[in-house]
């Protein structure tokens, strides 16, 4: 009896002691977490308030006072179009590529190769965007010139390859491709993480039923990772939407709203336009630039919400 008593006493003591310590730790931890969460909210609210307050004068100003003598909608619409177009090209190219890379690394490549390749893809994310810009203008652009000419000649009947082909290669297509390379690491990293977590039982089950490797991937890995791939794609899209330096350097912008991807006349993007015109702007022109920043903010917000909606529906099914 007495032995039992002492052990329970000891147990209670231990529980009380460690519980007390845990309570202090818990308090510190929860406070820190709350502070972090509030900081994020405050930052976001601060940015939003700044954009609205500083951008507001541009919304109400007359066309004659704004840059290019246009109303704000006419000024911002081509920029928003260019932003979405460049990012869409990037996502269209990068997402399939990233999924392929992720599948190769997680399910096909031998482990040693997979590790190296994964490391190399991640390394792409460490390259500063200005370097991508320089690479685009000095290497990819000139290399693309003959390809663009070929596209104009052979596929010119498709509106996006209508031409005339640019002589320098600084076109929407090239900018989109550079953006694709830039967002590849983040999309493939997310896809890789989730593909690697596909339950073994599912994969073995599929193979036991006589599925080939491709069928196994199609039946188990892809459905399992679908929603994460979508959210990875949205993360990448977010980066492409806001990318500044690379687009600023590469793209030849002439304000035209066009789906023609290979000519020298391209719509600018919001971020690139701000970078290009801020240095020489003053007064209302700066308000107009900040207001376009608000538009970009709204576009990214809508993209993220759409992605969440898609993922929520996926999970529901």
């Amino acid at each position: 009896m007495s032995q039992v008593d002492t052990t329970t006493n000891a147990g209670q003591l231990l529980a009380a002691a460690s519980g007390g310590r845990r309570r202090l730790g818990d308090r510190v931890f929860s406070r820190t977490a709350v502070v972090a969460a509030v900081t994020i909210l405050a930052l976001l609210a601060g940015v939003a308030i700044f954009l609205v307050a500083e951008g507001f004068p541009a919304f109400t100003a007359g066309a004659s006072e704004l840059p290019e003598g246009k109303s704000f909608i006419d000024y911002a619409a081509p920029l928003a179009f260019g932003t979405v177009l460049a990012s869409a090209i990037a996502a269209l190219v990068a997402v399939p590529l990233a999924v392929g890379v992720a599948l190769f690394i997680t399910h096909i490549a031998p482990q040693r190769l997979a590790l190296t390749l994964g490391y190399l893809v991640d390394l792409l994310a460490a390259i500063p965007s200005i370097v991508y810009g320089l690479w685009g203008i000095f290497v990819l652009g000139p290399a693309a010139v003959p390809v663009l000419k070929w596209l104009e000649e052979k596929l010119g009947w498709i509106p996006i390859f209508e031409g005339p082909a640019s002589a320098t290669g600084r076109t929407m297509l090239v900018a989109g491709l550079v953006l694709a390379v830039m967002i590849l690491p983040i999309v493939s990293a997310v896809a890789r993480e989730v593909f690697a977590q596909t339950p073994r039982k599912l994969m073995e089950g599929a193979q036991a039923l006589g599925a080939t490797r491709w069928e196994m991937i199609r039946m188990t890995v892809l459905p399992f990772g679908k929603s994460s791939v979508i959210s990875g794609a949205m993360l990448g899209l977010g980066r492409a939407l806001g990318e500044t330096m690379a687009v600023t350097i590469i793209l030849s912008v002439s304000g035209a709203v066009t789906f023609n991807l290979i000519s020298q006349a391209n719509p600018s993007t919001i971020a690139a336009n701000i970078a290009l015109n801020f240095p020489e702007s003053s007064g209302l022109a700066i308000n107009a630039l900040i207001a376009t920043g608000l538009v970009l903010f709204a576009i990214t917000l809508v993209t993220n919400m759409a992605a969440r909606a898609v993922i929520a529906r996926q999970n529901h099914e």
């Binding site: 203008i137 640019s166 320098t168 240095p279």
Partner: protein, 367 residues
């Protein structure tokens, strides 16, 4: 284990490197005081990116001779420079356009100088070259009309009759013309379009501004971007600060009956022949020119960028006044102008012009 050891070695090496670098720079500072001048302190300027290369050269040389002075020049752009000057954030500004009375800038700048007067003098003149990339065509001559038609995309092929008429005997290929313009707002664009709209208003009917008015051309950011785009694109033609043209060919532009090259001398001569702009030069020390773009006299090259130095005659502290004065004196001095010509390819102020702007700089004092 090994990785943490490496970390220690690496950080030790970095610390050591920083320490060595710090020692090196501090000994430089103490040993360089042989200039023997009395100016000291820190002054800041901001403005035109066109002046950046020249300002950097001036600052390096000036600080070399006056080791107690630190001068900074922030190339934020002309508009930003003027704004910062008016707000009192910088002691002097560089601007590709003279302060204009239209938006009250001139008045505000005068107010900024309180009891003193506003100084605005040209300190940097640079020809804008028309650069082109057309293999096999070593020399290209263009008259203003053809130039305007190329840049407003009326002429689209290099073997166009109008170009052939300017270049008798030259073999022009049927390459497509790619006109290249600046995608950012710039003083170079403003000066180039001002030239076109003054000389050939019937063809170039756009409003003059720092934003390129024609849609659909190849656009690149910054002077270096334009040069790079022209160099990369066969059949491309663009406009850029003559000093940055590099190995690209520069077109000769028809002035009167001759074709003129973008040389510093020819650029300086335009300013010499231009009258003062009365509206932009209300004060004793504001010297803003109305460039005579339509000049037909021999030896002038009218596509020129003029950049101004903006300052006050009075500064609160003696140190600041002395430093601004000494620096501005150096900038407009023949040595300073020669240095800018060497380093930035600008056109040195002529002696007549130097004589005209010197009294303004001499008037700087503490008060």
């Amino acid at each position: 284990m090994t990785s943490s050891k490496w970390f220690v070695v690496l950080s030790a090496a970095i610390v050591l490197a920083i320490a060595v670098a710090a020692c090196g720079s501090s000994s430089d500072e103490t040993s360089g005081g042989s200039g023997g001048s009395s100016v000291s302190g820190e002054i800041a300027g901001a403005g035109s990116t066109a002046q950046q290369a020249a300002q950097e050269a001036w600052i390096a040389e000036f600080e070399n001779e006056n080791s107690d002075v630190t001068i900074t020049y922030d190339p934020v752009g002309s508009g930003g420079g003027r704004e910062q000057f008016i707000a009192g954030g910088v002691a002097f500004a560089g601007s590709d356009a003279a302060l204009s009375p239209e938006e009250g800038e001139l008045e505000k700048a005068e107010k900024r100088c309180k009891t003193g007067q506003l100084i605005e003098v040209p300190d940097y003149i640079s020809p804008i070259a028309i650069i082109y990339n057309l293999p096999g065509v070593e020399e290209l001559q263009l008259d203003p009309e053809t130039l305007a038609k190329i840049f407003n995309q009326e002429i689209t092929s290099w073997n166009d009759k109008a170009i052939a008429a300017d270049n008798p005997g030259a073999e022009l290929p049927d390459t497509r013309i790619t006109p290249v313009n600046r995608s950012d707002e710039s003083g170079t664009t403003e000066n180039f379009t001002e030239y076109l709209s003054e000389v050939v208003p019937s063809i170039w009917s756009y409003e003059v501004s720092g934003d390129w008015p024609v849609k659909g051309g190849e656009a690149a950011s910054g002077t270096s971007g334009v040069v790079e785009a022209v160099a990369a694109g066969e059949g491309a033609i663009g406009y850029a600060d003559a000093s940055q043209a590099g190995e690209l060919g520069s077109a000769k532009i028809k002035v009167g009956s001759e074709y003129a090259e973008p040389t510093p001398e020819a650029a300086a001569k335009v300013l010499e022949e231009s009258p003062l702009d009365k509206e932009l030069s209300p004060g004793k020390y504001t010297i803003a020119y109305k460039l005579d773009r339509k000049t037909e006299s021999e030896g002038t090259y009218p596509i020129v960028l003029t950049s101004y130095l903006i300052a006050c005659t009075k500064y609160d502290s003696t140190d600041e006044a002395a430093a601004v004065k000494a620096y501005a004196e150096y900038v407009i001095s023949p040595e300073g102008q020669e240095l800018a010509a060497e380093q930035a390819g600008s056109a040195p102020l002529s002696s007549a012009l130097t004589a005209k702007v010197t009294p303004a700089i001499e008037a700087i004092e503490a008060g």
